[in-house]
């Protein structure tokens, strides 16, 4: 597990649990993302000592710029922020407990990067990736923007999805039995090169790399090799976009899962009461 990448083994599990975890990782872990973008329209004056006047036009439509800003990952501290419509302190008006406001002020000719978004107030919320090009400006063009980020889940929009490439596979198990004559056909055929000859046996170097493709099984002239996936052990892997660390995403997803199962148990209890 690193900051933005994770690979873990789920043992004593089944596909139902692995898939539930996968779905929560994709759609239920909340993150911050820019939701409202306000553009300054008309002329924009240059900074002090700059006599030029700039026009608030860009090569891209404002909608496209707003959309691109929305996709920029915003670092999220889940203990700090509430969902905007459930916020106790402001009743959905927007406050420091549910929103982060960014300003962006750039004058052409230049490329506007995601790193040009300056958080108003605290500096901890600087965007995770500073080198995402947003738009390019030419001479006498400028961009003055206020953008508001809020908490959401990717059930509503993919920009709130903290993870990508979430997937799991059965833990592979390769067995070579006595019929093996060390012909080496399987070693050369393996697409991920994890088989080698060790003494007078075929050995597996990195079992977790196996994709269960069964090429070695088909290549073996003696039918000595079997590839199976263990039914109660899984390898789960995913990336994060930098809004949350890989570890935080996992902790949060497990919390959500427990909550969801708790709800189900409660509902079932109520159901029994009703039927009596």
């Amino acid at each position: 597990m690193s900051e933005r990448k994770a690979k873990l083994i789920l043992s004593d599990a089944n596909p139902t649990i692995a898939n539930a975890l996968r779905r929560v990782l994709i759609a239920d872990v909340p993150t911050m993302a820019i939701e409202d973008v306000e553009f300054h329209l008309g002329t924009i004056a240059g900074r002090e000592g700059d006599e030029n006047e700039y026009e608030s036009t860009t090569p891209l439509f404002d909608e496209i710029i707003a959309h691109r800003l929305g996709l920029v990952p915003v670092p999220t501290d889940l203990s700090l922020y509430n969902f905007k419509d459930e916020c106790d302190t402001c009743d959905g008006e927007g406050c420091t407990n549910c929103t982060v406001i960014y300003s962006l002020n750039k004058k052409g000719p230049c490329t506007v990067y995601s790193g040009d978004l300056v958080p108003v107030g605290d500096t901890k919320s600087r965007v995770a990736d500073e080198l995402i090009p947003i738009v390019k400006l030419t001479k006498e063009q400028a961009l003055l923007i206020y953008a508001t980020a809020e908490l959401g889940t990717s059930k509503d929009h993919g920009k709130w999805q903290p993870t990508s490439g979430v997937g799991y596979k059965y833990y592979p198990d390769i067995e070579v039995d006595k019929k093996c004559n060390q012909c080496g056909d399987c070693i050369s055929k393996c697409p991920v090169n994890i088989l080698e000859e060790k003494g007078k046996k075929i050995a597996v170097t990195d079992i977790e790399k196996c994709t269960l493709c069964n090429v070695c099984v088909k290549a073996c002239p003696k039918d000595a090799i079997t590839v199976k996936g263990l039914e109660d052990k899984f390898i789960l892997s995913y990336d994060t976009d930098g809004s949350l660390s890989a570890e935080d995403v996992l902790k949060e997803s497990l919390k959500i899962l427990v909550e969801k199962f708790g709800n189900v148990a409660e509902l079932v209890e109520n159901l029994e009461e009703d039927s009596e």
Binding site: D129, L131, I132, S164, G165
Partner: protein, 62 residues
């Protein structure tokens, strides 16, 4: 037009590595190796960089 912020299929941010990728490929490096080093592993993200045509410099003149 301009490099998409995220991969269309999986949602990984690819915009942040585009300029590094472009510079190195223009210098003559192999695109596949550059993407490996930049951590663009899946083929959905790789096609985002590989198949992109940056047209914004052509368009912004108008």
């Amino acid at each position: 037009m301009i490099i998409p912020v995220r991969c269309f299929s999986c949602g990984k941010v690819v915009g942040n590595v585009y300029e590094i990728y472009r510079n190195r490929v223009d210098k003559g490096d192999d695109p596949g190796e550059v993407m490996d080093e930049l951590g663009i592993d899946r083929y959905c993200c790789r096609r985002m960089l590989l198949a992109h045509t940056d047209l914004i410099d052509e368009v912004k003149k108008f």
